[in-house]
Point group: C2
Chain length 169, copies 2
């Protein structure tokens, strides 16, 4: 089949298929005398496999190294290893997302927890200070820096669980 038909069958665009060939993800295919690419039926499955792997989080580079020249002969060990590591990657991402989410929830709570006797500006400062104190390491901000920030306006900075031990630096 020609590239247009393969595109229709696989749901990809012709340009994408040519792109995959260019980067070595698909092996070069046969050409007709006029230069047109000619694909075997199996190509549809290969493309489906590629998009499925992409959706699972594999990069094209990873897919290229995993894809065997022959769909029936996989490097079993390498494949299982890649799958296992990808699951671990996903779990790491999940952990970070969970943290991000909790961080945002805590931020919302903190903003709404404005004491009655505090005006918005002071509350803004309180929330900001709390938030930036939450991740000192990631921001490369030391405890000295925090104190420096506080010095700007040292009125009140009340929050539960303010600093956690400022690990290392």
């Amino acid at each position: 089949m020609k590239i247009g038909e393969l595109a229709r069958l696989s749901g990809l665009t012709p340009s994408r298929i040519r792109f995959y060939e260019r980067i070595g993800l698909l092996k070069t295919v046969d050409r007709r005398p006029n230069g047109y690419r000619t694909y075997p039926r199996q190509a549809v499955m290969i493309l489906g496999l590629i998009t499925t792997a992409q959706r699972a989080g594999f990069t094209l580079d990873e897919i290229r190294t995993l894809l065997p020249p022959d769909l029936e002969h996989w490097d079993h060990a390498t494949l299982m290893d890649a799958l296992t590591r990808k699951i671990a990657d996903i779990e790491a991402l999940q952990a970070r997302l969970a943290q991000s989410r909790m961080h945002l929830l805590r931020l919302i709570e903190d903003i709404q927890a404005r004491p009655d006797d505090m005006d918005c500006a002071a509350n803004a400062h309180r929330v900001l200070t709390n938030m930036l104190a939450d991740h000192p390491k990631a921001l490369d901000v030391t405890s000295d820096d925090i104190r420096l920030l506080d010095a700007t306006d040292r009125r009140q900075s009340v929050s539960p669980g303010r600093r956690k031990k400022t690990a290392s630096r």
Copy 2:
């Protein structure tokens, strides 16, 4: 303070700070007679805020529209709305990651569930067919999701896996 000191205090590079100014994320700062930028101490907090928001999954564009000219005067309603929507984004992504993970786990199981009387080639075909027959849209991850992933992932990844010779010939 000059840009180098701000960079040290904030953990960002000078080029990144200049970049933020160029795209309008930071307002233009005062200059000394020699042309050097001069920052107020508050700038450290603004940069910390920006990187924190980035880690939470906000794009620089989003941050720019949310950041008030004055750190003490936020658009409370818009901010809360943005935070809430970002949490929803995260949760949607979490759901998709969970599905991706389950998909991979099922794939591993399926590969290992090769009947005794089936050779590897036939098993490969069986697994492939099962996989491609699975809910193809279930794991779809949009470019927006990728961005959110990047926000939590990129700056922490050790090496940005480089591609060899990006498609040219």
